[in-house]
Amino acid sequence: MKFIYQTWWKVIAVLLVLSTFVTGLLFKVPRLPIIHETIRNLYFHVPMWMGMLTVFVVSVYYSIKYLRSGKEEYDIAAVECVNTGLVFYVMGLCTGMLWAKYTWGEFWSGDAKQNSAAIAFLLYCAYLVLRNSMDEEQKRAKISAIYNIFAFPVMIVLIFVLPRMTASLHPGSGGNPAFGKYDLDNGMKLAFYPAMLGWSFIALWIATLRYRMRLIEYKKNAID
C-alpha cells in the first residue's frame, strides 16, 4: 500500500494527460467523412472508459482480498474505487452522447452500445444502493464484495462483448472497424496511448485520495 502515498506516478499521469491536450488537438488525424475533427474525441472519450475499467479492476481485486482476509480497509478500497469509476462512467457516457449527436444524429439513438452501457451503469448503481441498505458492517462488506465480483464480468460482457456481436453504430461493433486501423497508419497512437495510460492513473489517484479520506473517517468512527 506504500505505492499510493508516492508522488512520482501522479506526476507522470498529469504529464501524460497534459501532453494529450497538445498532441491530441494538433497532430494530424485521418480525414474521414461525417466524423471530421471529432475523431480527436478518441483521446478524450475512450480514456474515460479506460480509467473506469482500471478502477473497477482494482475494486474487484480488493473485493477478493477482502473476502480472503476480512480486513475492513480492503472493503473501503473497493467501494471508493467503484465511486471513482462511476464518475468516469458518467463522463464517458456524456462525452459519448455528445459525440453521438454530431455523428449519429441523436444524443441517444437506442444503439446497442448505449443501451447496454446504461444497463451496466444501473448495475453499479445497484452496488451502492445495496451497500447503503445494510447497517451491519461485516455483512455489508461481505455481501457487497460478492456482488462486486459478479457485477464486474457482467459489466464487461454488457459493454465490451454484447454490442460487438450485434449491429451497432459504435466503432468496433458488428463487423464495423474500430479506430485501431487508423491509429496504426497515422501517428494517432502517439496521443492515444499516453491518454489511456494517463487517465487510468488519474482515476487511480482520485480513488486513492478518496480511500485515504474514508480511512480517516473509518478510524475516527472506530474510536468514537
Binding site: 475533427e37 455528445l98 485520495l209 480517516i216 473517517e217
Partner: protein
C-alpha cells in the same frame, strides 16, 4: 380512349408531384447554421473536454466538502 376529367386531374397532380420531387434534390453540401458543426466539428471535441473537466471539477468540490467536514470534526 378519352380520359375523364378526374383522371386528367390526377395525372396532372402526379406529374406536378414528380417534378417537385425532382426539383427538391438537395445541393452537394447541406451546411446548416450550426455552430458545433462548423470548422470540421472541432467544437464537439472542445465541448467533450469541457464535459470531462466539469465532471472532474464537480467531483473535486464534493471531495472538498467531505474533507471539510472531516477537518471540522477534529
Amino acid at each position: 380512349m378519352p380520359l375523364t376529367n378526374m383522371k386528367k386531374l390526377t395525372l396532372l397532380l402526379l406529374m406536378l408531384c414528380s417534378i417537385s420531387v425532382a426539383m427538391a434534390q438537395p445541393g452537394q453540401d447541406v451546411e446548416m447554421a450550426d455552430a458545433l458543426r462548423s470548422s470540421g466539428k472541432i467544437y464537439v471535441v472542445i465541448l467533450t473536454i469541457c464535459i470531462i473537466f466539469t465532471g472532474l471539477a464537480i467531483f473535486l468540490f464534493s471531495m472538498d466538502r467531505r474533507l471539510k467536514k472531516l477537518e471540522k470534526d477534529n
